[in-house]
Symmetry: C2
């Protein structure tokens, strides 16, 4: 029996914003398993801003996505065939299956596929709050910002899969958490559902001075820690309110993903406020993942860590959902439901 | 007997570049000593870029220099009268006597005046390589850059009081040291006297691409650590050559001292190269000064740490010498000889 597998390949590299023409949908058939392999049927595909960077050919922190190959991406699903003793049919697993319906994983290589418990935590959360985005939030907050109780921590893209976790973990550590997000609906979720102390809708501010004033009002004691998912005017505004010895974790610069360099307006503030500004890539800190996942999983299971998901239906919808993510159309974690 | 004391006061705050009109020369007379005080005759006054920042009224890392008060500044000299048992006439001392010929110090407050040994190290060096500039270099290199043998360390204003020490300490730790300075004469000193592996004359490059190419040629293995004394195009060029996990110590932004903010061209590199960019002010790290001064003093005494001085003659010359310092006219540590 041959099993058809719908796959999205990278057809061409985008010059600026990606378009549907950059992707090509093909149907392959799933081959027979070899020894040591398992076949995973994907339930959800994760869409993440980092994928835009991989679509470029230039200098980046990771190898470029090859042309005419299946787009990379995190997936959760279930094992439906196994040629390895450690995995059984029915196991729920998280891996990097890519933009396709099925993937074959050689599990004799450790680390490629991880069994997860879908009884206490919804399977899709392993792509969000209890997955790479959650660990990203945990790492930047606890290892770079290192917040102390009573400090103020800000985060951009605060309703997103990473940002929402940053603020909730900061609150759990006794901090004032202030989000920045694009739109009143997103800010409402950030404050009412995620429990941030305040959230600023940057789209409601026509100029940097207005954004700065709103940030100053929301952060009466200044800013001690900041988690940057965006870059540009938001980062500039935060830096103007930074206290001495502020720490900025640089996680994403989505505004610059389309190639145009976006300057930092006043780097001199790094000196005058003795800031630390540090970039990181979560895949380089694997030894800390278990500790992070333990806290995140426990909080989600107990209901003390909230998240939102935007779910596109079917593999065919992946490119449009990804383009929408880059434009900020999603609210919370962007997923594609595949089964 | 009254003793006249020539003093420079801050007469007005400069809008952009300081001019002689911002300073006023007055003559006061040294009053009689009270109990616990000593009278110091200054031999040298130190002129430093940080003074420009203090002349502003705005947000800065230190209190502004008050108007109509004696300009602040480091001094070395000798005790010529003492009303405290711990200091004797003839003691050589370093302190913060300001832009004047004499100062009275209440030495019952610890830390204001420090006795130094002028037999192994020239007195003037306690204002440079074995003083605040040297400790600044030591701190940024050892505590922020934390260089490993075999790495490449770059430093801007490399012939200056701070920059020259940075590169020599990096060489002593097994690194490749590359300087950036303004002018062929300065670069010659950096390479031939200070022993850097290379030095780039940024004035010889008409555009950023040319400067970047020169930096790439001088740093064939990229840049692992950078000590920033200037900001602007030099920092931008360095960031383009930075390796993964590069560390940048932000010590000075002289190009921005006149008020105009100078942007950082491509902050996204902080993320893609997982850099750490950290500002510091050396006066906030007093516990490390003894360790730093021990290494610096020993190296100067043994002749393994070189430095240059530019010495203006007489208290009257201080404003012009300071203005020249901000324009890069000095080579090495800028001093004013007072006695």
């Amino acid at each position: 029996m041959t099993r058809p597998n719908l796959q999205w390949l990278l057809a061409s590299r985008p010059g600026g914003e990606p378009t549907p023409a950059n992707f090509r949908l093909v149907t392959s058939s799933v081959p027979a398993l070899k020894d040591g392999e398992v076949l995973v049927r994907h339930h959800y595909l994760s869409l993440d801003p980092y994928m835009r960077g991989r679509m470029n050919d230039g200098k980046n922190y990771a190898a470029p996505q090859p042309l005419d190959a299946v787009m990379i991406g995190g997936t959760v699903g279930e094992v439906i065939e196994s040629q390895h003793d450690a995995f059984r049919v029915g196991d729920t697993v998280v891996g990097a299956g890519g933009w396709q319906q099925y993937s074959i994983v050689n599990v004799s290589q450790p680390g490629l596929l991880r069994k997860v418990d879908a009884s206490r935590v919804p399977l899709s959360a392993y792509l969000g709050a209890v997955g790479m985005p959650g660990v990203t939030a945990w790492y930047g907050l606890t290892q770079i910002i290192e917040p102390k109780a009573g400090e103020t921590v800000t985060v951009s893209a605060a309703s997103g899969a990473v940002g929402g976790v940053v603020g909730q973990l900061a609150k759990a550590r006794g901090c004032r958490a202030v989000g920045i997000a694009g739109g009143r609906d997103k800010c409402d979720v950030v404050v009412r559902e995620f429990g941030f102390d305040a959230c600023i809708d940057y789209k409601a501010h026509k100029n940097p001075a207005s954004l700065q004033a709103a940030l100053a009002a929301a952060c009466p004691n200044g800013i001690d820690g900041h988690f940057e998912n965006v870059g540009g005017v938001v980062l500039d505004a935060v830096m103007q309110q930074a206290n001495a010895f502020a720490r900025i974790a640089m996680c994403g610069m989505i505004a610059g993903y389309n190639g145009e360099p976006i300057p930092m307006a006043e780097p001199r503030l790094i000196l005058t406020q003795r800031m630390k500004v540090q970039g990181f890539i979560i895949s380089e800190h694997l030894p800390l993942w278990p500790q992070a996942l333990a806290e995140l999983g426990e909080r989600v299971a107990r209901g003390t860590l909230k998240y939102r998901e935007t779910v596109a239906q079917g593999i065919e919808s992946a490119p449009e959902a990804f383009i929408g993510l880059l434009k900020g159309r999603n609210l919370g974690k962007q997923l594609v439901k595949l089964a």
